[in-house]
């Protein structure tokens, strides 16, 4: 089965340059049969990056993916607290550059109105929007979004393709929360390989709304692929989750950019 990985990072990977780190990730990806990686955020993370830090992080990803254009896609990392700077960065990296998606992390909860112009612009560009979410019984970070925040945002932007990062972390609640919003997709990455997560996602959302990702280098490809390979679901569903759905979401922007995949 073809495998595309929605959720990869350059942190937690050996190498002193972005391209060295992506090269190392691809060595492991090759061992696991993974054809394509979506990469976002720089070599050192910031919860609340300044516009300058955002640009530096995105420049690192641009450096890395330019080295491996047939293997990796870039998502632009944005901080909605700096709305105009984020839109400028979106234009620089996606409209005028090779990136194909947006990454939003924990700077600001995603139901905030500051996100609206960013999401609208991303949708115009046909970029896939990835929003980190988690429901932590131990307490979220101040700017960390929940799946509830995400469905509010998604309701305001029904034309946008929005991925719910980590399926909300506490996936038994997260999947229920995003279930009614058809433009929200579940990212399987980043949690423990707890049995049942993929079966529930497919049961509640349909296989067409579930996407494999790993969250490497913090996680392994292995533990996250196991969520799909080990799930009690049909092979047709596994194909969609491992690559088919992500390809479908990325096809419009890839076509627009003349990228063959």
């Amino acid at each position: 089965m073809e495998i595309w990985d929605l959720h990869c990072h350059l942190s937690g990977v050996p190498g002193s340059t972005p391209e060295a780190r992506l090269g190392k990730l691809l060595e492991y990806a090759d061992r696991m049969g993974i054809a394509r990686l979506c990469v976002y955020m720089g070599m050192e993370w910031s919860y609340d990056p300044s516009p300058e830090k955002m640009r530096r992080d995105n420049d690192e990803v641009l450096r890395a993916i330019r080295q491996f254009p047939d293997r990796a896609f870039g998502f632009v990392y944005l901080n909605p607290k700096y709305t105009q700077a984020s839109i400028d960065e979106l234009n620089r990296c996606v409209r005028d550059g090779p990136m194909v998606g947006v990454k939003l992390w924990v700077a600001q909860r995603c139901n905030a109105p500051e996100l609206d112009p960013i999401i609208a612009r991303a949708a115009e560009l046909k970029a896939v929007i990835f929003q980190h979410t988690w429901l932590k019984i131990t307490g979220n970070l101040p700017g960390e979004s929940t799946p509830m925040d995400l469905v509010e945002l998604a309701a305001r932007h029904p034309q946008a393709m929005i991925v719910c990062g980590h399926s909300g972390g506490d996936w038994e609640r997260g999947l229920r929360i995003i279930r009614p919003r058809k433009n929200v997709y579940a990212d399987l990455a980043g949690g423990d390989p707890t049995a049942g997560v993929t079966e529930m996602a497919v049961r509640e959302l349909g296989a067409e709304r579930v996407i494999y990702g790993s969250d490497v280098g913090g996680r392994s490809f292995a533990s996250q692929l196991a969520k799909v390979f080990g799930a009690d679901i049909p092979d047709s569903a596994k194909r969609l989750i491992l690559a088919g759905n992500l390809k479908r979401l990325l096809t419009p922007i890839l076509q627009q950019k003349g990228i063959k995949a």
Partner: protein, 286 residues
């Protein structure tokens, strides 16, 4: 079995064999030191009945699985839980399952539970869950369990955590076990052989190295994370201290298996983790 279910089973078996083969490596036998029987209190999972678990383990080439019981987490009648565990291990899998009874040193007369594990059920080891049983590792009862286990030649499995703290049920929250007191205990208790389960998500760097250096302490890979995780681990720890563990059926078994594939390992390293280290460890039992 009707045709539909036969086909489904066949496809599942084929997929399992394919993954095993593609784990490049998962050549030869496998000993899984971290499985549980019975039911996780908060979720039904595939493999939470013993016959299904054994079938799944066999499909993946497991020749021996060291089994505790989810009942050991919360049941106060732990003697009954251990009795059922021993019985299930006898009745299923023709010897594939090796029972590790739970000991809760905060229960009255827990020493009798330990005695039955050895004398009645002929168990080779015990499993401890300090966070679910409400004690820290500087507790004198814990020290006594370790002493008695060492005297009886039992392997001790200590589970640091069972699931991600961030997503526990609000009524069933426990902290990961603080292992700091273990270093001196491992040094002080002669004959103690300790296997840490689900440890590598929280126990890393110097605390891990200190513990491994203190005595006969071992880790397994169920909660090992990071890209190329096993290779990274072997850069820090002696090979013979690393065991194969899946945390099945609560975790997808394939996770541990695929970790063997993700890291570039020599045949010697792979075989040591898959089987030799665990076999040697169990063979030390008197």
């Amino acid at each position: 079995m009707n045709r539909r279910s036969f086909l489904k089973t066949s496809v599942g078996l084929t997929a399992a064999v394919a993954i095993r083969a593609s784990a490049a490596g998962a050549r030869g036998d496998l000993i899984d030191v971290n499985v549980n029987l019975s039911r996780w209190p908060l979720r039904r999972v595939r493999g939470d009945d013993t016959s299904a678990l054994v079938a799944m383990l066999r499909q993946h080439g497991i020749t021996q699985a060291w089994a505790g019981s989810f009942d050991g987490l919360l049941h106060k009648d732990i003697a009954s839980a251990n009795g059922r565990l021993a019985d299930e291990c006898r009745r299923h899998g023709r010897g594939i399952l090796v029972p590790f009874g739970s000991i809760n040193p905060k229960l009255p007369d827990w020493e009798e539970d330990l005695r039955r594990c050895v004398d009645v059920h002929q168990m080779r080891g015990i499993r401890l869950h300090p966070n679910y049983h409400g004690y820290k590792l500087d507790d004198s009862d814990f020290r006594r369990v370790l002493h008695l286990a060492a005297e009886r030649g039992l392997l001790v499995q200590l589970a640091l955590i069972m699931e991600d703290e961030r997503m526990m049920h609000p009524l069933l929250r426990v902290e990961s076990v603080d292992t700091a007191p273990l270093v001196s205990l491992v040094k002080q208790i002669p004959g103690l052989r300790l296997v840490l389960l689900n440890a590598l998500g929280t126990l890393r760097a110097k605390p891990l190295l200190d513990l491994i250096a203190a005595g006969e302490a071992y880790v397994e890979i169920a909660m090992l994370e990071g890209v190329g995780g096993i290779a990274n681990l072997l850069a820090q720890l002696p090979l013979y201290r690393v065991l194969f563990g899946s945390h099945a059926p609560l975790f997808y078994f394939e996770s541990a298996l695929l970790k063997l594939k993700e890291s570039p390992l020599t045949d010697h390293q792979r075989r040591a983790i898959q089987i030799d280290n665990a076999r040697r460890l169990l063979a030390k039992n008197p």
